[in-house]
């Protein structure tokens, strides 16, 4: 998670208005979902990879690793789509496993292929967005889209607190591990339980201290912070137009 956050802050188009980056990702996701064809999915993947690597200068390996995060879910659920299981004998091609019949068909394989490419294309678009845009910029984008203020407030607080709590978590884990707290499954479970409770206390007390210090500085209402001055790039529009046109063309051509 630190990797994604780090590149979100250090990539070459970090200063670009989040609305432009979000717009590009949204075009890709919507067209990829709506057209629902393997060629469109592959093309979206290619587009997003190129934009992230060539435009935003995110290393190709990082982009690939972020995509791999979803591999377990994707493989398991594709298995579910591609295979049919039945108690009654299935038409060929099928294998019998005890009382069960395990089979597949041309249609379900085609379905699995479509899903695979579509999910990869959409995930690539999401990854392009999160690898180039820090979460705070995305929250700022949501604020502009008139998401309720309470929600915006909770999200920015949560984001800022996550890293503080993660650091506590790591310190406590190290302390426990050096005292052999994880030398066996049961002991590891007990240590994790203790860790969870201390983490809760940490979060609770931090919120009280923060409340006190903010109140003494006159907090009354939502926490306001200034957004960054974003750069708007005219190229983003052209890229968006080219992206939409190429996806639509490939979608219509088939």
């Amino acid at each position: 998670m630190h990797i994604i956050d780090r590149y979100a802050y250090t990539n070459a188009i970090r200063e670009l208005d989040p609305a432009q980056k979000g717009g590009l990702a949204l075009i890709a996701i919507i067209l990829c979902l709506a057209l629902d064809q393997p060629a469109v999915g592959v093309l979206t993947l290619g587009w997003m990879f190129a934009l992230a690597v060539l435009w935003a200068r995110v290393p190709a390996l990082v982009f690939g690793r972020a995509l791999l995060a979803e591999a377990p879910f994707l493989l398991l659920s594709l298995l579910g789509v591609a295979l049919s299981v039945s108690l009654a004998p299935l038409a060929a091609p099928a294998v019998q496993l005890g009382p069960l019949w395990l089979g597949s068909s041309a249609e379900s394989l085609a379905m699995a292929t479509r899903l695979f490419t579509r999910a990869l294309g959409c995930a690539a678009a999401l990854n392009f967005l999160i690898l180039t845009t820090p979460l705070l910029d995305l929250i700022e984008l949501l604020r502009r889209l008139r998401v309720p203020e309470t929600l915006i407030d909770l999200m920015s607080l949560t984001y800022r607190a996550i890293f503080v709590l993660l650091e506590s978590l790591q310190r406590m884990t190290t302390a426990q591990a050096t005292r052999l707290g994880y030398s066996g499954p049961w002991r590891a479970m007990r240590s994790a339980g203790l860790l969870g409770s201390q983490l809760f206390l940490d979060a609770y007390r931090r919120s009280q201290r923060l409340q006190m210090s903010l109140e003494s500085r006159g907090l009354s209402g939502p926490l306001r912070v200034l957004p960054l001055d974003y750069r708007r790039d005219r190229r983003a529009r052209w890229i968006g137009a080219a992206l939409a046109a190429s996806l639509l063309l490939v979608g219509a051509w088939r």
Partner: protein, 248 residues
């Protein structure tokens, strides 16, 4: 299909399952970006919307009554997120991550959890590339609505009738399990089996994901009991302020 092809198919399936079970700590099951067709994605957003509205209203009310709730809930969201990054040993020997919804529901209530859980899901999509934006409605329904409701029903229903540890265990384990069952149902609704229809597909997805999700539910149940016991002895005052334990 001839003998050789059959053997290859079996080997491929077994290898895929092995890779997935052993590869990395198992996360709770979130539907990935782009996996749901547009209509189903929209459907789950509409179904979850009332819970978000109710949850947000309750949070707004709480903030007016007690202004410190704002910061407390912000930290609570971060706590739930970080808890889901905690690695715990799984009963099968590999390790897994808890969802934290059972504990969160016991501590903060189901309506608040529908909002906090959704924020956690959104952050998992945006910081871990796990889950998605178009599937947020479906994932929120299974993890931030269904799971907390089950946990709450058990927590309220069994209180003073069963030992505390059993109540906590069941609330957390069944919240986790119901999340997985609902997600399987969501996948089955979107992709019914060619011959078995919705039920066939539901059983299929349920079985495939049971390999990682059932041990995870049991682990989360045990972990939550341990956390709750530790909280009981270390943080009694805080639990009373939150209204988790009765009496002030």
């Amino acid at each position: 299909m001839n003998e050789r092809q059959k053997r290859w198919l079996l080997v491929a399936v077994a290898a895929a399952v092995l890779v997935i079970v052993e590869a990395r700590p198992a996360y709770a099951m979130h539907i990935m970006e782009g996996f749901l067709p547009p209509l189903w994605a929209a459907f789950w957003f509409i179904v979850t919307l009332p819970f978000w509205v109710l949850g947000l209203r309750q949070i707004n009310r709480l903030i007016v009554e007690k202004p410190e709730t704002r910061l407390l809930l912000g930290l609570a969201g971060a706590f739930t997120f970080v808890l889901s990054a905690l690695k715990i040993p799984s009963v099968t020997g590999s390790s897994s991550h808890p969802t934290g919804t059972g504990l969160g529901t016991i501590l903060f209530g189901p309506m608040v959890m529908s909002v906090l859980g959704t924020i956690v899901l959104l952050f998992q999509a945006l910081l871990l590339a796990h889950g998605g934006l178009t599937t947020l409605g479906a994932n929120a329904f299974s993890m931030a609505v269904a799971g907390p409701l089950v946990a709450w029903a058990i927590w309220k229903g069994l209180q003073d009738r069963a030992p505390l540890w059993l109540t906590v265990f069941l609330a957390a384990a069944l919240a986790n399990l119901s999340t997985y069952v609902v997600t399987s149902a969501q996948l089955a609704l979107a992709y019914p089996d060619a011959s078995g229809g919705f039920m066939g597909s539901f059983v299929k997805f349920g079985t495939i994901f049971a390999v990682t999700q059932v041990p995870l539910a049991i682990s989360e149940g045990i972990l939550t009991v341990l956390i709750f016991n530790a909280l009981h002895s270390n943080a009694e005052a805080e639990l009373r302020t939150l209204g988790v334990l009765k009496g002030a």
